[in-house]
Symmetry: C3
Subunit: 216 residues, 3 copies
């Protein structure tokens, strides 16, 4: 029980600071995931490399947004939700962005020659998760459509479950069919980074669910 | 210093909500670890596969218990301990369950053909840690036997140290004697997941020690 | 907004407990990093092994310091900064120490025969990060030279960026030139542990930046 939770009944919640930052951060994740899906589906190597660079640039932008949320959290006496939830949500969204960039970075560094079905499927799931994340974050500011937020969170959980399944199957297949250990390591790491991006999406959904409960 | 810490001197602590959930979660970890030990020691592949499925089912049950603790935390104004400690303890117990299930899942997916001494030893250590965890959690509700909780935490720390040692030796041996890189990767990952389960047990013990200090 | 943040305007901050512990913990990290740099640069195998043992001993000392900070946090009603920041800073410094020891431990266990330029460079960056960390921690107690703390944090961020770059290049090179999968795995893991030590340094810097903002 923080002081904040008491004060929020007396003081108008200043939502003008935090919500636009959260919306931008969530939108940034969707932008990154959109480029990721495009990059793993193109056959144009030069174009793909350029897309990976765009992902890098967006990840830097996301870092700045996260940093700004932390700064506001330090400056603001009154916050719309519990301070710890604002911090956790910002961190979780930042983590999604980090893992998208980390996946792209590994594909580039490891110089992989084949964009497998599992890579494409996981990228697609990250985009789906990101879209639901952005929807939910947009509804946070008035909590008028709590049902919509809860539904998005449920869909994010389903996306994460599907990603787990795709990852597990893909890794089992690698161990069955990939006889080149170096290739196996490369692909396994890329798949793991992609799958972790959906885990981070689920972390964000968990924070939002906990915000819903507290503000019910 | 949270408001909660002040209120707890004036308001009767409502322990009826949190403690049964914690006890069930800890008991669930012991059930999972018991099946794990059985699974890595049997020679009956079909039976083992069935046990791994039981572990999956119990892990889902554990997820629900954790979720319920989080929900109660959002609803309850007054909590028996600091909110952050309740949250951390629930997360740590859930993490133990996750890594037990993760270890079982990898053994199944990687289709390993040999259950080594290190795998058996680490599984046994997880069970020992889980048993101490359950003992300590049961004592939390009245804090009458603080010494017992402290002793269990010390034993959990010792279990984690032993697991570290077993893991380090096993990995060094893999690099010395295992010439098949794919097998090395598989076993190293399984050992790492098992060892991490004992780390998570230690995390739970650390939270309980910090609860003891605050409520001394 | 914690109660603590209000009380700190009325109650003299008792800095005598926490600051010496933080300074010792940061100094301990510098001692560990100094030995690490020496160890990866020597050609004397027996001397190196002895240095790795010294790192182990110092890591245990660091664990005790962290534990003491946690204990004080449980006992002290009034803390010089937000309780969560004290906890996070202690954890981050402890994590730097853990990853230095983890890196040393892997080099020893994997029995590696060549201390590459990347290993040397990353060890050097850890030392640079540690030195800035200690400088910043020493300034925390009076916050008279906020500029100095901010500058050290910026330098820690730059160190982490450089470490990222060295790590990425080294891993890409491993995949290009190292045909022995077992060696590749060994070196990749050691480089990852070294690089993570600089990430943990950045975590500590982030906490200090957040303390600066709150106490501006």
């Amino acid at each position: 029980m923080s002081l904040n939770s008491i004060f929020q009944y007396f003081v108008p919640k200043d939502k003008k600071v935090f919500f636009p930052l959260f919306e931008q951060a969530a939108h940034n994740v969707v932008a990154m995931a959109t480029i990721l899906v495009e990059a793993v589906n193109t056959n144009d190597n030069a174009a793909r490399e350029d897309m990976f660079k765009q992902i890098d640039t967006l990840e830097n932008k996301g870092d700045e947004l996260t940093h700004q949320i932390y700064l506001e959290l330090g400056k603001n006496f009154i916050t719309p939700f519990d301070r710890e939830d604002i911090h956790s949500l910002a961190t979780a969204i930042d983590d999604v962005a980090d893992y998208i960039q980390g996946s792209a970075n590994r594909m580039l560094l490891y110089n992989i020659d084949e964009y497998t079905e599992s890579i494409k499927k996981l990228s697609e799931l990250i985009l789906q998760g990101g879209v639901e994340l952005e929807k939910a974050v947009r509804e946070l500011k008035d909590l008028k459509n709590v049902r919509n937020i809860a539904d998005s969170c449920i869909r994010i959980n389903s996306v994460e479950n599907q990603a787990d399944y795709v990852f597990d199957r893909a890794v089992a297949d690698l161990f069955l069919y990939e006889k080149d250990a170096l290739r196996l390591i490369k692909y396994k790491e890329i798949l793991a980074a992609l799958e972790t991006a959906t885990d981070m999406c689920e972390d964000a959904a968990n924070v939002m669910e906990s915000i819903l409960v507290k503000n019910a």
